[in-house]
């Protein structure tokens, strides 16, 4: 059964490489994507809309869920922030009275949410549906020389109750399992579930850049060749602002830790050419890392 693909704003905006890599990787892993059902779905609100009006955010997400239900599909997303915001909304929308009242505002469009959506990030689909063993068996180029630091960010780990970690304990270390499955080495570091700084980038740039510097320098100090993240917003900050973060916090040496999107890492192991996943369109160059694999961006 195909998933209703919900790419989120960022993979269609500032991170087109994530979109490209996802389509390639899903095709090879046999994850069928229905690209049309979610075309008229709105942004989740990313937690920002929710600041102003929680109910508005919930209604927009109920609309998206209702569209998936109508198509008889479950939602697959590639953005941790979308995942987190949808999971939180879905938890609130399990209340029958609240859902009924939210549905009133969707009636004119002929939509109604019944509470059955179960949106899943690609990362979860891989560990829960495809299976780590299957992924491992499909690897054509193991990456034993690569030391990869996982970076989850916030939305795909907290609040753990809304994300159903108790029901799905495998979600807790899913990134590490994927890194191992592609034959690379995991570089564990305590910052992996902390904030990348993106949400305050325009508000308090100093703090935001400190976060970028702390995480990337720590990972580098522990020997990481690259970092992998399931969140395009984390990517935007950790990759896009790394040069500035270095200038502000580590003036004597560049940091230069490439930040990979989850499907880019998997794609390398599946033999997808780096160019097809636009590994050449990062701010922090992936050249050195790829040369270890005898590849070029």
């Amino acid at each position: 059964m195909p998933y209703a693909f919900y790419p989120g704003c960022v993979s269609r905006g500032a991170c087109p490489e994530l979109y490209a890599a996802t389509l390639e990787v899903c095709r090879r892993l046999g994850i069928e994507l229905d690209l049309t059902t979610m075309q008229s779905a709105s942004c989740t609100g990313a937690g920002v809309l929710q600041e102003k009006n929680l109910r508005l955010g919930d209604t927009l997400n109920a609309r998206t869920f209702a569209m998936a239900e109508r198509a008889g599909r479950q939602i697959l997303t590639i953005c941790s922030t979308c995942q987190g915001v949808m999971s939180q909304a879905n938890a609130r929308l399990q209340d029958d009275d609240y859902r009924a009242s939210v549905n009133e505002d969707l009636a004119e469009e002929g939509l109604s949410y019944n509470g059955t959506a179960d949106p899943k990030h690609l990362l979860w689909v891989i560990v829960e549906e495809v299976g780590i063993d299957t992924l491992e068996s499909m690897v054509v180029q193991r990456l034993p020389s690569l030391r990869i630091a996982p970076f989850y960010g916030c939305y795909i780990v907290r609040p753990s109750s809304d994300l159903k970690f108790e029901e799905h304990p495998e979600r807790e270390d899913a990134l590490e399992r994927v890194i191992e499955a592609v034959g690379a080495q995991v570089v564990d570091f305590p910052g992996k579930t902390l904030c990348c700084g993106f949400p305050i980038l325009t508000i308090n740039e100093t703090n935001s850049l400190k976060m970028v510097a702390n995480h990337t320098m720590d990972a580098k100090g522990r020997g990481a060749d690259a970092m992998v993240t399931p969140c395009p917003l984390c990517h935007l900050n950790l990759d896009g602002y790394q040069p500035q973060a270095a200038k502000a916090n580590s003036p004597l040496s560049p940091i230069d830790v490439p930040i990979l999107h989850l499907p880019q890492l998997i794609g390398l192991a599946l033999g997808i050419p780096p160019k097809a996943m636009r590994l050449n369109s990062h701010i922090v160059s992936t050249k050195t890392m790829l040369s270890e694999l005898a590849l070029s961006p």
Binding site: A41, R158, P159, I200, Y241
Partner: protein, 320 residues
């Protein structure tokens, strides 16, 4: 059951005051908590271990510390929940973001000064009523959620902003501020919100949800901070990057169904903020060179009018 502990130790009076980890192993019962274990260690194995505790029932707020890297109350964390899956020791460390005084004891002075900074007392205006100040039951019921805070500092320990900036008021103090802004008997809302709108206030939170996750009393500090932002904007404090960002974000979704990243950045800084605009240029140039540019023309999603309708309907509920 046999339980292993690995405890971070620090003695400022030692000849060479450096932190170290000590390991202990002891027989405990399944119903015991981490605090039970630490007290047994102190009483039976190593009398020099320093820790704070009092009520042992999650009321006094004195035993917050990091257990396996995450803040929580030692007295309401069962050993069976704390023993790592791989059978390794339970790692116990002092709370983060506050200076360690000895072993598991941290200096709470900055915590309290931030709580004091939000003026945690009622400031009514006008003549005093004949009898007591009356507050509607619903309002007070709503406030019990924040009043449940036991000032344990778990949220402060794990706040990702405090990790990089001591100046941030932090989750506990901001939750306390919310408690007074929402109190119907208080008349200082506007000046309170003005102060919270400053550097180090509500807009500095990254929405990382650490405080939500670790709070033992479900106070939801982040949710309170978001509510304070909304109140501040309603009160007319709209001339901050944060407020402009929230507005621009909402406008973009309302009009096109999704996010127009370029416009969002420009509008957040304020179109006339030349200094910030210039700072963006190197980033834009780098992005452009890397082939990482958002589509130049932001197209609406199909059926964007349906999204607009949702906005209208939900917003008219608020007014009506």
């Amino acid at each position: 059951m046999q339980v292993k502990f690995k405890v971070r130790r620090f003695d400022p009076d030692a000849d060479r005051p450096v932190a170290r980890y000590d390991e202990y192993e002891l027989e405990m019962s399944e119903s015991n908590t981490v605090l039970d274990g630490l007290i047994r260690i102190r009483e039976e194995m190593d009398g020099t271990l320093a820790l704070r505790c009092s009520c042992r029932s999650a009321i006094c707020g004195s035993c917050a510390m990091r257990i396996n890297g995450q803040a929580g109350l030692a007295c309401n964390t069962l050993l069976i929940h704390a023993i790592p899956k791989d059978g390794g020791p339970i790692v116990v460390e002092p709370a983060g973001n506050l200076e360690v005084q000895k072993d598991l004891i941290v200096d709470f002075a900055p915590f309290w000064s931030k709580v004091r900074a939000v003026q945690p007392w009622l400031q009514p205006e006008g003549p005093e009523p004949e009898t007591e100040y009356i507050a509607p039951a619903d309002d007070m019921q709503h406030l019990t959620g924040v009043m449940a805070c036991i000032m344990c500092g778990a949220c402060v320990s794990d706040c990702t902003v405090l990790d990089v900036d001591d100046n941030f008021l932090g989750p506990a103090a901001l939750a306390k501020a919310y408690r007074f802004v929402r109190d119907p008997r208080d008349d200082a809302d506007s000046s309170r919100l003005g102060a919270l709108n400053e550097y180090g206030g509500v807009w500095d939170c990254t929405r990382c949800m650490q405080c939500v996750e670790v709070c033992p009393k479900n106070v939801d500090p982040m949710g309170r901070i978001m509510a304070l932002r909304d109140r501040a904007m309603e009160e007319g404090y709209t001339n901050t990057t944060g407020a402009r960002h929230a507005k621009a974000f909402s406008d973009s979704v309302e009009h096109s169904g999704w996010l127009d990243e370029t416009k969002l950045v420009v509008k957040s800084h304020g179109v006339t903020n030349v200094k910030e605009m210039l700072k963006l240029l190197p980033v834009a140039a780098r992005s452009f060179r890397a082939g990482k540019v958002p589509p130049l023309r932001h197209k609406s999603i199909p059926g964007a009018e349906n999204v607009r309708r949702v906005f209208e309907k939900v917003e008219s509920r608020d007014q009506g």
